[in-house]
């Protein structure tokens, strides 16, 4: 097993390759896989003014913005998730995260987050426009997508088995069962559970790293888009699903509903565990 890690997407992205390969081949396979993660970082960073996300955020209402096919794909999935979860999953919650200090303030007035009202319309030719003032943050889904792209890159490179882990959202493929330890939500420095991952994705959400008190109110970086409130639950939710983007997005549904058997999970081929 060869493992390397690089900082992307605000966290550490770790790639493990099981195949026994020569050094030059490994450098090439790792390089291509990290490059696909780097591309997601470049396109979807909230902080980089040149990213697609920033260009969408800075656009006028009604202005048609051309975006990369990857960004289009992620937003398409986000809109589908928003509809399926009745607004719980909502990428236009960025103003809340800015208000609570999880994201930096951008130029212009802070848009109002309106629960359940979608602000984005995808148009032909990888274009998008906003129907009202809104700021988006793809942090709840982009890591999962980056993992899926890295997996696809490794498969294209001819790798037989590998695992990609972006800050706790991971996916494995091939004949190997990868050992996974899940953090204990009450003692994040400790592990609560050991399990195995084979040909599947696993994503975990929890409030333990982001929870804080502002003006006597508890908040976290997890927003329930259906009501605009922070999710302050002390449990964590881990989702197994065929792809990491879906697993990543569905963790928010389970965190908000506290239901590990939510009927929507089966629709996406997913299962959940709450700890």
């Amino acid at each position: 097993m060869k493992r390397r890690a690089q900082p992307w997407l605000g966290t550490l992205v770790e790639i493990t390759i099981a195949d026994a390969l020569g050094d030059a081949e490994l450098v090439s396979c790792f390089g291509d896989a990290f490059a696909s993660v780097a591309e997601v970082h470049r396109l979807m960073s909230f902080h980089d003014p040149a990213s697609d996300v920033s260009r969408i955020n800075q656009a006028e209402v009604g202005q048609s913005v051309e975006i990369h096919a990857h960004t289009c794909e992620v937003i398409r999935c986000a809109l589908s998730m928003a509809a399926a979860t009745r607004g719980i999953f909502d990428v236009s919650c960025a103003p809340k995260l800015v208000e609570w200090g999880y994201l930096p303030m951008l130029a212009g007035d802070l848009p109002e987050h309106v629960p359940g009202r979608c602000a984005l319309v995808l148009q032909d030719g990888n274009r998008i426009r906003k129907t009202r003032a809104a700021w988006i943050d793809l942090g709840g889904i982009a890591k999962g997508y980056a993992v899926d792209l890295a997996i696809a890159s490794l498969q294209r490179s001819g790798i037989q088995s590998a695992c990609v882990n972006a800050g706790g959202d991971l996916r494995a493929f091939g004949d190997t069962a990868y050992a996974v330890a899940i953090r204990h939500p009450a003692y994040p420095n400790a592990l609560a559970l050991q399990t195995q991952l084979r040909d599947q994705a696993l994503a975990t959400s929890g409030t333990y790293f982001s929870r804080k008190c502002i003006d006597d109110r508890e908040c976290s970086a997890l927003v329930n888009g259906a009501d605009g409130h922070a999710i302050t639950a002390s449990f964590s939710a881990s989702i197994r699903a065929p792809t990491c983007m879906v697993a990543d997005a569905l963790t928010k549904l389970v965190m908000a509903s506290a239901d590990p058997r939510h009927p929507l999970l089966e629709q996406f081929g997913a299962t959940a565990l709450i700890m």
Binding site: R3, A5, Q6, T11, L12, A179, N189, T207, S236
Partner: protein
């Protein structure tokens, strides 16, 4: 797609562990595969340089001494590798930044990731035991080394570190 678990621990098992991804030498060769030599180019910043680093990066300069290697292919300068460590709430991360001759950042690789209790991470005595040593393999569970799943652990300290190193390179290393 079952949750067949190997073990559910009721008493939380500590995640104190270390994962070594790359040694310094391995990182050098990963980041500059064409290099034939790496020469010590370690530097000490003057007070004025530290002030300029702070101004350029928007971050405290933090250290006077920096471990730097210059990468060469024959006589041709390929760039630099700068080493650094950052401390989080309970993690200690050693990493390397590869820079092009024009001081632009070329690549960042994590060398070692260590997790322990906060009080250990903050203790210089605890950290000193790792200086110059190779980390043991990562958390072993069953047959293999475990991947960790959890809420996202932010690595802004690494991103800040890279920005600081880019500023140092711009001011002191750039050809």
């Amino acid at each position: 797609m079952q949750w067949t678990t190997l073990a559910v621990t009721t008493a939380a098992s500590s995640l104190a562990f270390a994962t070594q991804y790359l040694s310094v030498e391995q990182a050098q060769h990963v980041m500059f595969p064409d290099a034939t030599a790496f020469k010590d180019a370690s530097l000490q910043l003057s007070t004025e340089q530290m002030r300029q680093v702070e101004k350029l990066s928007g971050l405290p300069a933090r250290s006077v001494s920096w471990r730097v290697f210059a990468a060469y292919r024959g006589d041709m300068a390929l760039g630099f590798v700068v080493l650094d460590d950052v401390i989080g709430k309970f993690e200690l991360i050693s990493y390397a930044v590869a820079l092009n001759p024009d001081a632009s950042v070329r690549q960042v690789e994590i060398l070692t990731y260590r997790e322990s209790h906060g009080f250990e991470i903050r203790s210089p005595a605890w950290r000193k035991q790792f200086a110059g040593k190779t980390a043991q393999a990562g958390l072993e569970i069953g047959e293999g080394i475990a991947n960790i799943s959890g809420a996202t652990l932010s690595c802004t300290h690494v991103t800040d570190g890279v920005r600081r190193i880019a500023a140092i390179a711009q001011l002191v290393l750039k050809r």
